[in-house]
Symmetry: C2
């Protein structure tokens, strides 16, 4: 079927598509508290209504939290490829409101030096992104009278509040949701404004929140200083021992399951010209902190990390108190890659910690769950087809990139539904998601929609 | 002059001496807030009146805070030895009041399994102690009609609130106060209930309160984890590097000025039979934390220390936040001995800290003052005379001991008045000073008074 006609239709329909997005953005579907429950419901209703003209049999599906929107559509033939599309209609809270230049739920198209932007809460995360897919499907339907493939639409309303209903819902509806060939997820970004991206690596996450106890009560350092072991001293020694001089993490077996990049990916990343001096300079730093023999992009995308996210103990108020505290605490997290196993690493960390405690010391853990990394199935030819399709739309070729953060949905799709995921998104680093004055570039919206038309054409 | 008559007089007068102490204890002379200003004044008046019958020309001397009580008395001859006596009449606050078994300012003699105790706030710290000296002087005066020596009495009312007026007062009255040969300070303890003690070493104290800053703002560990250096990681490495594997402090030059104990002191301490397993076991610990080649008593009395008294950084609330914080902070203190110089050690610490910071990191210090250690002049024959005198009163010979804490007064006497100090006191470890149900053993009060009579006799 003709792609060019679909692209023309998208171009012609851009004003109306923009109006539809602004309409959705006006609904304050903040998911993180009970105050906006009715608004989340209204956003789900809006989407159900928007999906119906596309020939998608959509319905609001209740959960203990905010509803899911699920819809199915036939393709041109019963054996057409079957894709699942995932996005989320809920948005982040808007505080601090005083830092917004406009009402976050009175969105508008603004002219800026860098071009038009759509400003409002959710513009980029994730309403603007999910609408790029729906607009591409709409144009296709209008041009061809049918969809390019079989489709399952799966939209969530709790992504910004930890997705408490997601796993139970997927487990209850496993049969219905596991039918597609692959899942498309639109909640990520471009490499930069010229280079579109398919995110093929997501780091996993393991947290440890713990308190070590030494003396049975706080002691005076005049009386006990020198003879009583100080829990803060013990803690700092344990934490300082987690990295060696080269930036490598010292836990035995920690690097088991950490893959080396293929030459193809390595050279593609070298070609991206990542300016790490600028990346770090923007936040007041200069030197990369990771393993000495790794490139900066490896450090943030494909290498595991260990960081202390919080530490506390003893007297922390104004002035001085010469106390030897009874306890010291920390929150430590590991970003995981490849097939690193959260359970194995938790065990290695705890063994290291406990074997570092002096006699009489004890530790209490406040359990945090762990999630493994996701590595997309880029050997699947669909990935190369999608990458070529994206490359045709944008100035520079598309890249397979990593993402330092954790997007659990891809892991759940694999684990619960057996589906591989392809993460394509059009966000930019300056979109200010989760912050005041969130925006989505008109270029992202327009070319994003065109990109999805190309990807659908390539995959079907 | 006869000592025996004085000791008998002390024995006979014990009931009345106890009444006098209870009377002084009834005055709630809490110095740490403005609420008890009049009561501090009243305690000073009480002491002035009590000193007069002893032939001591005492007066209340005003300061910007609570008054000093200063008095002078002639000795039997114009060239009699001249002693200065220091104590303090102010007391600690009494919170938490509900943990007291009686009104802290309605003191009484209680019978306990271990003998009679005088219970009430200030019983041991320091009203009971200072009255041991005054009662000894009173008995002497009553028996001999004269004092054993020339005397200067110097009583403070702000010891429990940081002594803000002390140094200015001593500087303004330098000539008057620097005339004595030596200062006697009664605010310390016995080694144990059989072994009286002269405290001959007081550790000094140096504090450093600081914050290191890395990234210019808090970062998300998904985006920056692995490439951005985490200030908590930097801080823990710096703090962990302050001790080596043997417990020794690693700052270059740190041990300059740390003296070795004489064989005499070492063998005296070995003879004390200090039970470090019990000392540590009482607070839930088992192994001494200090330098491997030092005895437990050295660790708390005569060796310098380094402790982290507080640490904080990143997210410390409930749950988890994968933040790479911009800052991390700590409060570090050093206990100093011998002639270790606070200024030199501060410089060494800061040099170590700053040379450990990665490029782009900075540090801000919140200045804390430092004070050197005090080492008493035990080569002065007066010390051995006093030790012999104490040994005659108690079951076991008196010991020269150290004190892990800092008692600044001895340093000020030396620095401002040029006076050496001799610290003799009769407190016991279970006196619960600064805590609810403070007490002073009747044995401490009675034999303490007799001890001072013996010391006065030996020194004059």
């Amino acid at each position: 079927m003709s792609l060019d006609q679909v692209l023309s239709r998208i171009d012609d329909d851009l004003p109306k598509a923009t109006e539809r997005l602004l309409d959705l953005l006006r609904i304050p579907s903040i998911s993180t508290g009970p105050d906006y429950k009715a608004e989340c419901d209204r956003a789900a209703d809006w989407l159900v209504e928007d999906l119906k003209p596309l020939g998608i049999d959509a319905a609001k599906r209740s959960t203990p939290g905010h509803p899911m929107v699920v819809g199915h559509a036939d393709g041109p033939a019963p054996d057409s490829p079957h894709l699942l599309f995932y996005g989320h209609y809920d948005v982040q809270p808007v505080d601090p409101l005083e830092l917004w230049d406009r009402d976050p739920f009175d969105p508008a198209v603004e002219e800026t030096e860098a071009g038009q932007v759509i400003r409002g809460r959710g513009a980029a995360d994730d309403k603007g992104q999910l609408m790029t897919f729906l607009e591409a499907v709409r144009a296709w339907k209008e041009v061809h009278g049918t969809l390019p493939c079989r489709l399952t639409i799966f939209l969530e309303g709790e992504e910004e509040s930890g997705s408490p209903s997601l796993v139970p819902f997927m487990e209850e509806n496993r049969e219905e949701l596991s039918a597609p060939d692959i899942a498309l997820i639109c909640d990520t970004g471009m490499f930069d404004s010229r280079v579109p991206a398919i995110t093929t690596m997501l780091r996993g996450l393991l947290g440890e929140d713990f308190t070590i106890t030494g003396p049975s009560r706080d002691l005076h350092s005049g009386m006990y200083g020198g003879i009583a072991m100080n829990p803060i001293r013990v803690l700092t020694k344990i934490l300082a021992g987690l990295h060696d001089e080269t930036g490598r993490i010292t836990l035995p077996g920690f690097y088991d399951g950490v893959p080396e990049l293929s030459d193809g990916i390595l050279s593609q990343w070298q070609g991206l010209g990542f300016d790490h001096a600028r990346f770090l300079g923007d936040v007041g730093l200069s030197e990369p902190a990771g393993e000495q023999d790794r490139t900066p992009l490896e450090m943030i995308w494909s290498r595991p990390t260990c960081d202390v996210n919080g530490i506390w103990g003893g007297y922390t108020g104004a002035g001085f108190k010469t106390v030897l505290p009874s306890q010291a605490s920390a929150k430590v997290s590991f970003r995981l890659v490849g097939t690193q196993d959260p359970g194995t690493i938790r065990k290695a960390f705890r063994h290291y910690l406990e074997s570092s405690l002096p006699p009489g010391f004890s530790v209490v853990y406040r359990t945090e769950k762990g999630s493994p990394a996701s590595q997309m199935a880029i050997d699947d030819p669909a990935f190369e087809k999608a990458r070529q399709a994206l490359s045709e739309e944008w100035p520079d070729p598309a890249a397979y990139i990593g993402c330092g953060g954790s997007i659990p949905i891809a892991g759940y799709f694999k684990e619960i539904l057996g589906l591989d995921s392809m993460l394509i998104g059009f966000g930019k680093d300056d979109d200010q998601i989760h912050s005041p004055n969130e925006k989505f570039d008109m270029e992202s919206f327009h070319k994003g929609t065109r990109s999805w038309a190309r990807v659908l054409h390539a995959l079907t």
